[in-house]
Symmetry: D2
């Protein structure tokens, strides 16, 4: 039931057309981590274009979802419950990297943190946290 | 310096290609309010597609920005500082509406709230709040 | 199983000593709404004291919890999952009011919005949203 | 203009009575980091008390403010603009530690991340991010 980065990329692109539109790639995956890349040329920045909010948010959301699949395998019914993002700095003209780390994997909710930066520069351009509601497991009654 | 809904739609679509990709429309605008529509057929939901997180976030962000332009006119340098979104319910197959209301227009930060629902059903599918950093005005020293 | 505002005030003050320290009162309660008051004299503002962040956050959290008990009755195991607050304006020297409204009551999560203002002035001083994880009900398998 | 952990503790306790009520201590401070402790015996948990939300939020807010003073010295007019907190796990009966790290120090806004855990156990019990509006400096016109 363990998935590769490539598997997760396919799942995300199938489910989220915007992820395919920006050529989003899942570069690495482990049981509590995922790394996503959005190529610069594919960020669809046109002349006059400056607001990359939706690209950053899409990358953050995809990285979170990838990290959860890294932990749990294919979780078809997991849905984003909350996403909070701080925009720290205007991104440079470079690939965007989103690194997601699981903060807590509960039975009902998973919490993830995402650092976003430009390839080749560790300075954060954005930082996000979020939670995913996990599908109901037919199991023991404990906490969230 | 007052802008029409159509003006704001053009500004947003020029700056945010994702907004054009989803055929985002600014339907109405006032000094503390904006209403945005994402046509259902343009939400790019393909077979197997279920996660509309990025579409909802893009609509929320655009509605916030529109509301700020409704208040201030063309604010070229306004940038999203924070966006927090709660996903409440799976959207129905219908146009998505995002209604943004200014909570507070400070000198340096504007705070906006957005209700997202499907056309024809007032039940919220998502709810967002966010802040925008406003460009520095060469003026009097007061608060944020 | 329906609770009065006074019942909820007692439950909150018993569980949250900080709420008692600031003499927090639950003024009204309905199935999707709660109104909380923090008397000015009890906000513990001393000479030099200016940062009322914790008082505002405590009031927001209590109002959310009260609104959930208004909807569900005594929910012993409900716990705050996420709270996001924007501080909009320095509060005036007056009683603080927190008005909470249920945004969505799901089976597993409840989402609440809170407007905070000073008594006698409708201008918002802060605005919060949050989610509560609800205790597991031994029931039908649907969504969050 | 550099401050010690003890200086910052005094500033916070003077300005935020709730911080003094919970015997909040600033344990360490650097130019991009602060560590705060809330002694267990002082968390005011009475029989029946379970909801420590306000204590966690107060600790997170104090740690953020401390980290900003570690970077900038005494910043009298800095005010919290946004605080977002995820509650991950019920805290154990132990001292609460809040570790704040500066994510970004802009000219107008500072962004901080806080990890909260119980002394002796690295497992996160909560995680917060937030922004502070910094006082206007009479300086060069750049960005937020």
């Amino acid at each position: 039931m363990s998935l590769t980065a490539k598997d997760v990329q396919t799942i995300i692109r199938t489910g989220v057309p915007m992820a395919e539109d920006i050529d989003l790639r899942v570069e690495s995956l482990s049981s509590d981590h995922a790394r996503v890349r959005v190529p610069f040329r594919a960020q669809a920045i046109r002349p006059g274009g400056t607001l990359s909010g939706p690209v950053l948010m899409s990358a953050a959301d995809a990285a979170m979802y990838a990290a959860i699949m890294g932990a749990l395998g294919k979780v078809e019914m997991a849905v984003t419950s909350n996403l909070n993002i701080n925009f720290l700095k205007k991104p440079a003209p470079a690939d965007l990297i989103a690194e997601a780390t699981l903060l807590r994997l509960g039975r009902r909710l998973a919490f993830v943190e995402v650092s976003l930066f430009c390839d080749g520069d560790e300075t954060l351009v954005a930082h996000a946290t979020g939670s995913y509601a996990l599908p109901q497991q037919p199991v023991s009654p404990t906490e969230a």
